[in-house]
């Protein structure tokens, strides 16, 4: 009996050594990705328009397309991605422990996350803000009318903090009901437990389009009570990988600014514009500087499309979410999307 204990303890110790030494491996993320042949991408468990799996298990959405673009840039194949659905609490651990290579999961870029969680944000893929959704029948026109109201919230987000900040600033005495899962919080809100539901405005549009018994019975209030710049994040210990992901995002923006789309990218290769030539790898060695193929941006644009195409395909006016470009238009069209020059 005692001997069996001993063997058990030894086995446990051995297992711990093996598993820890596996986790401690970090270093060149790109090398590891090239070796295994795909990118492991952390996404949302299900948020229409951003990351959602269909009945065949095929993932689509704006966040998903970012991972696909990176895969196209690295491998020339947008489908060299495996997805890990993560909930709000798992997501950072999944990234920092090495389980995923990119966290592309409608995650807000904040100082605390950037500075103290072992991760870095590579850019902004969607400028969002926290809003409120209420039933039309409640005849509420502004979030400031929510005095004493019960508000449904999903935990594991900056949402609770923003809600409290907004209520404190406006003396609203809001009563939150906090749920762990998105599903239960939706059930409670549409069941009438809360007067309002709060999350990022894009999330509200997504939930209204997908889960409301009748989407027209609910309105999203005009106030945005916070800034929610959503973007992909990578581990802090690998600056090369960070740079690569960052520049794939810029390439998608640059393509939209220069009018390069998935449809015309082949013709654009013969463009006389040196900027376009450099971006598409016709001249220069931009891809090599990032440690990948020179056709990196060409592949990403050809297979996934430029940022504008990704936006319109997943969340734009022709989708159930019906989101306007707003802040997410290019800077030339009055938005905030500004790609750093590829040169």
């Amino acid at each position: 009996m005692k001997f069996r204990h001993l063997v058990g303890a030894a086995a446990a110790a051995l297992f711990a050594v093996v598993s820890v030494s596996g986790a401690a491996q970090a270093g060149a993320t790109l090398d590891a990705i090239k070796k295994k042949g795909f990118i492991q991408c952390g996404v949302n468990t299900g948020l229409a328009g951003f990351s959602v799996a269909d009945s065949q298990g095929v993932w689509t959405g704006l966040d998903v397309d970012i991972c696909k673009a990176v895969a196209a840039a690295v491998f020339g194949d947008a489908n060299a991605v495996k997805y890990t659905p993560t909930n709000a609490q798992q997501r950072f651990t999944a990234l920092t422990s090495g389980e995923v290579d990119i966290l592309s999961r409608n995650t807000t870029w904040t100082l605390t996350r950037d500075a103290s969680l072992g991760m870095m944000f590579t850019g902004v893929t969607y400028y969002d803000g926290q809003g409120f959704m209420v039933p039309k029948s409640a005849k509420i026109k502004s979030a400031k009318e929510l005095k004493g109201a019960t508000v449904c919230v999903q935990t594991g987000t900056t949402t609770e903090l923003n809600l409290a900040d907004f209520a404190r600033a406006n003396k609203l005495n809001i009563k939150p009901v906090v749920f762990e899962s998105l599903e239960e919080s939706k059930v409670a809100f549409f069941g009438g437990r809360c007067k309002a539901y709060t999350t990022d405005a894009s999330g509200l549009a997504s939930i209204r389009a997908k889960d409301a018994p009748n989407p027209d019975d609910y309105i999203i209030l005009p106030e945005l009570i916070s800034k929610e710049p959503l973007g992909p994040a990578v581990r802090r210990d690998d600056v090369e990988w960070f740079t690569l992901v960052k520049w794939v995002l810029y390439a998608l923006g640059e393509a939209e600014e220069s009018g390069i789309t998935s449809a015309n990218v082949n013709e654009m290769k013969s463009s006389a514009d040196p900027n376009i030539q450099r971006l598409l790898g016709v001249s220069g060695d931009m891809g090599q500087k990032l440690g990948i193929d020179n056709a990196w941006a060409f592949n990403a644009i050809k297979q996934v499309g430029n940022y504008g195409e990704i936006f319109e395909r997943n969340v734009g006016q022709k989708t159930p979410l019906r989101l306007a470009r707003g802040l997410n238009a290019t800077w030339k069209n009055g938005g905030l999307m500004y790609a750093m020059p590829v040169r």
Binding site: R113, P176, E180, G192
Partner: protein, 395 residues
């Protein structure tokens, strides 16, 4: 003779390596060393890894401002309070559900357990059906069921059902008048333990008197009068303040007074009905463990049914009931952490929010574990003490 025999049969001392006693000690030492080494290895490895990944560690965050609201609190709390206080609020909410749940589950479980032994065919079958249904459906599903039922069936918060006496029931929960707290209330609360002590003293005196004279005293009613009466007198001496805070209609429902939220109701309902099905079986087993001959013997001595149950059957049944009951109480307390699924702000829910805002997963999880361990060990300790008290005293 015997001494001589033993002297002859004493075997020669084996070498230390073959001595089973010494070997056993060596095994123990090696095992402990292994466990300690494993612990040190894991902790230091975690710390190094966290440091390598530049993740903050330590419990310093507990003093920082929490910044989030909590839906229901037993102590004063607002968003400017610290994370530490938020944890305390969550802990008290957990304890509130556990204490109420344990009391109600014990009562309901005992009733159903006795009902299952009833001579009445329908009552016994109904009790069996209850036990078999409730204990075979996962608790989480039952909680979802109760919560969905409550949020969908109750009237909308701006059309609350009124039961008179200013009691309102709606999707916001049950809201009822509550006395405006004044000093007299607090003094009455302080007097309550004295009332209980008085009742205990009275029952001791009555027992001693019965031993001496053989005359019985009624126990239940005088005890209740003492327990309730002492705080009542204190309250009356304090001027009998009886002002109530009455729920007022607001734009979205009612405010003021006291309230029970649907989340709390659903959680208590789910925990109580689920745990009661297990307790019912324990009670039934306990009663069946006392042989029928005991009751017959009591009847032969001329004891009526009540005293037979109270003085003969129950004391023996409790010996069988209490140990498994302890684990049911522990289960109920630990199961209350499922509250997070239906929006009740218990310890786990608050810790989840804290974890997400600070990103300090290991610290938050370790706090949750430490709290549940402490609570569980306290319950187990109290029940073991009670178990020793009621254990059969062998003479």
């Amino acid at each position: 003779m015997a001494d001589q025999d033993r002297a002859i049969h004493v075997p020669p001392r084996p070498s230390p390596w073959n001595d089973p006693k010494i070997r056993a000690i060596i095994y123990q030492i090696v095992l402990i060393a292994g466990v300690v080494a494993l612990g040190v290895f894991l902790v230091s490895n975690t710390l190094t890894n966290l440091e390598q990944r530049q993740i903050r560690t330590g419990y310093g965050f507990l003093d920082q401002e929490a910044g989030f609201f909590i839906g229901e609190t037993l102590i004063s709390y607002d968003a400017a309070s610290s994370y530490g206080r938020a944890f305390l609020v969550g802990l008290l909410n957990t304890l509130k559900v556990s204490v109420i749940g344990v009391v109600l589950a014990t009562i309901l479980g005992t009733i159903i357990g006795i009902a299952r032994l009833s001579q009445n065919w329908i009552v016994a079958r109904l009790a069996s059906a209850y036990v078999e249904t409730l204990r075979n459906i996962p608790l989480l599903l039952q909680l979802f069921f109760w919560y969905a039922a409550l949020t969908n069936l109750l009237p909308a918060s701006d059309h609350a059902a009124e039961f008179g006496l200013n009691i309102f029931l709606s999707k916001e929960g049950l809201r009822y008048p509550w006395p405006v707290v004044e000093d007299a209330h607090i003094w009455a609360l302080i007097a309550l333990p004295f009332g209980i002590a008085g009742a205990v003293a009275f029952s001791r005196w009555a027992r001693a008197r019965q031993m001496k004279t053989g005359r019985q005293m009624p126990l239940l009613w005088p005890s209740l009068v003492i327990i309730v009466g002492v705080p009542l007198i204190v309250w009356l001496m304090g001027g009998a303040p009886s002002q109530f805070e009455i729920p007022e209609k607001t734009k979205f429902g009612h405010d003021g007074g006291a309230a029970v939220t649907p989340e709390f109701l659903a959680l208590v309902l789910g925990l109580v009905t689920y745990t009661a099905s297990f307790i019912a079986e324990i009670v039934r087993a306990g009663i069946l463990a006392v042989s029928w001959g005991q009751s017959e013997a009591a009847a032969a001595l001329g004891l009526r049914r009540g005293p037979t149950l109270r003085l003969v059957v129950l004391p023996q049944a409790l010996r069988v009931i209490v140990p498994p009951m302890t684990s049911q109480f522990l289960n109920l307390t630990k199961n209350s952490s499922l509250a997070v699924a239906i929006g009740y702000p218990d310890l786990v829910s608050v810790a989840n929010t804290t974890l997400n805002q600070t990103g300090q997963a290991i610290e938050c999880i370790s706090l949750i574990m430490a709290v549940y361990l402490t609570v569980s060990l306290s319950i187990a300790g109290a029940m073991n003490w009670y178990n020793r008290r009621i254990a059969l005293v062998e003479r």
